[in-house]
């Protein structure tokens, strides 16, 4: 019984994956190539055009081959428009981490102050409420104009969008620290810095980490769109570039890579959250 429980879900996952691949394969399978044009012309324009195939959608096998080639050589660099998927991902991850860490440096201390002081909370609340719902990409033109650098602008957009969940969760976590722990600190005459780092920070850490986990998810969503706009490097640019190349297999590879990296980032933050979470 237990064995069924353990293996049931992965087995079902594999079945779903295989049926999806089967349907995909059936839908994109090429008819036996009947040449409807002159063989000389066919040689010139290539198979797809020559057979009059309407869909450029690749079969699972095509995508698999493309993926394999990417995995075999992820870090090649053949000029600005032809870099390996590994390099592109590295650019995106570097931008995300940079913007994200800058946001954490600002959001966590500010959130701390907001959480400690109802006055500051009420004073900053209107600004937060207005700034929070702005789509991070709406900042892009302003960032490009003021910062004059597309790469820094992308980092700025990540900074802005990962700020709010961290800020709000930190403020909430700090404000919700149990009164009794603060009373213990007061009766022990614990100084303000020691109280902040030894009592409030560990007490609020799980909530802060939850905010950081939400933020990294949003940052990874936004970086793809931001790189499509600013261009040059990054996985978002890669996907857009392959769209211009009409290489659907490469686009699908890019999408898969985005999903996998996003999952890994989330897993890493989940691990960290678990480290600071304490059982009550």
């Amino acid at each position: 019984m237990k064995a069924v429980n353990v293996w049931g879900a992965p087995l079902l996952s594999i079945v779903i994956l295989l049926s999806f691949l089967a349907i995909w394969h059936a839908a994109t399978k090429q008819e036996t190539a009947r040449q409807i044009v002159d063989p000389e012309y066919a040689k010139l324009v290539g198979d797809a055009a020559a057979t009059g195939q309407k869909s450029a959608l690749p079969t699972p096998a095509d995508v698999g081959r493309t993926l394999w080639s990417h995995l075999n050589d992820p870090f090649y660099d053949k000029g600005p428009n032809d870099k390996g998927i590994g390099i592109q991902l590295a650019y995106s991850i570097a931008r995300v981490l940079m913007g994200y860490l800058l946001a954490a440096l600002v959001a966590i201390p500010v959130g701390f102050v907001i959480g400690m002081s109802p006055l500051v909370y009420r004073a900053l609340d209107p600004f937060i409420q207005v700034l929070k719902p702005i789509s991070p990409l709406a900042w892009m033109p302003l960032a490009l104009f003021t910062l004059q650098d597309s790469s820094i602008s992308a980092i700025f957009v990540i900074f802005i969008c990962s700020m709010w969940p961290m800020l709000i969760n930190t403020a909430f976590g700090v404000a919700a620290v149990r009164r009794e722990w603060l009373n213990v600190a007061r009766t022990l005459e614990v100084g303000p810095f020691r109280k902040a780092f030894r009592v409030i920070l560990p007490a609020a850490a799980p909530t802060i980490m939850t905010g950081m986990r939400i933020s990294i998810g949003i940052a990874w969503l936004v970086i793809v769109a931001a790189e499509m706009l600013v261009g040059g490097t990054g996985i978002g640019y890669f996907v857009w570039n392959e769209w211009n190349n009409l290489s659907i297999a490469n686009i699908i590879s890019g999408i898969l890579a985005i999903g996998l990296v996003g999952m890994l980032l989330d897993l890493a933050l989940a691990r960290l959250t678990k480290l600071v979470t304490f059982p009550e």
């Binding site: 149990r178 009794e180 722990w181 009373n183 213990v184 007061r186 009766t187 022990l188 005459e189 614990v190 020691r194 030894r198 009592v199 560990p202 007490a203 850490a205 600071v276 304490f278 059982p279 009550e280």
Partner: protein
């Protein structure tokens, strides 16, 4: 007469027009174990918080060792009802946090040794590395007690420390507190609902009337010998007299006092000191004339 360690002078707490309690006067001598009994809502916890410096009285003054209380202090350790342990620290970590707060200049080795002494005192040896979530309620409260004692305070303030525990654990911990207090001659101010707990532990029991406008109705002197055990407490002739007196107060007089007001000669600055444990002849022998009003023995003996 020497200055009592704790002295409350006319303290009151009001929220807007509601008066929780007012005009409270009483004192606790050094080395004395005082219990405060009263129904919920009479402001017992507020009084303790005022003593601890965590809350402020609307009126009146609190003096500890002759100095007015203006805020929390390491002199006054609090044992909280909810134990208030930090769940991210181990047992040893929780106690070391307190020790380090008291003596910031100590080396970590000295802090560890000092913490260990108090972990052993409350019989928690072997559980040092555990986190609060892995402990039973009784063990958590032991940590709370060890943490409070580890800073070597001049007094302990306990806010219904055992009320969240089951009866068996409560009994065991009460005896531990009795033993520790006998060893250390610690001054204790404790809030409780439990009449038997008060009789077992206290030297004097402060009785509060029901709120709002709660007052101190009287102060019961526990005339039982100080070396007590749960086992043969009830065999002493004073036990049931005191117990009946307290129960009768809680059931009837705490409300009656609040409704009809005190008798004409009630002086809130000097609440009547009663010794219901003594029978009338003993009382006359002990208490020098003039006879006090509302002789307690009349109330206590049935």
């Amino acid at each position: 007469m020497t200055e009592p360690l704790i002295r409350l002078e006319g303290i009151a707490k009001r929220f807007g027009t509601t008066t929780v309690f007012e005009n409270l006067h009483f004192s606790v001598e050094a080395g004395e174990f005082a219990c405060l009994i009263g129904h919920s809502g009479c402001g017992k916890t507020t009084i303790l918080n005022v003593l601890a410096g965590l809350d402020h009285a609307t009126e009146g003054y609190v003096f500890v060792g002759g100095r007015e209380v203006s805020g929390p202090s390491l002199d006054r350790a609090v044992i909280f009802q909810s134990h208030a342990l930090m769940p991210w620290l181990t047992v040893a970590g929780n106690i070391a946090f307190a020790v380090k707060s008291r003596w910031p200049e100590w080396s970590s080795e000295k802090v560890r040794a000092h913490s260990q002494k108090y972990i052993d005192l409350v019989n928690l040896g072997g559980a040092e590395k555990k986190r609060p979530a892995e402990l039973s309620g009784g063990m958590k409260q032991r940590v709370g007690i060890a943490r409070a004692l580890s800073i070597e305070p001049r007094m302990l303030l306990m806010d219904e420390p055992f009320s969240a525990l089951d009866a068996l654990t409560r009994g065991v911990l009460q005896e531990e507190v009795l033993r520790i207090c006998a060893e250390t001659r610690q001054t204790v101010f404790m809030i409780t609902h439990d009449v038997d707990e008060a009789i077992l532990l206290a030297d004097k029991i402060v009785l509060m009337t029901n709120g709002p406008c709660a007052k101190i109705a009287e102060i019961v002197v526990n005339t039982l010998p100080r070396t007590r055990t749960r086992h043969d407490l009830h065999k002493h002739p004073h036990y049931y007299r005191i117990r009946n007196h307290l129960i009768e107060f809680l059931v009837d007089r705490s409300r009656a006092f609040a409704l009809s007001g005190a008798s004409a000669d009630y002086d809130p600055r000097n609440p009547p000191l009663v010794k219901p444990g003594l029978d009338p002849t003993e009382a006359r022998a002990v208490e020098a004339p003039p006879e006090r009003h509302g002789t307690p023995t009349l109330v206590a003996v049935r």
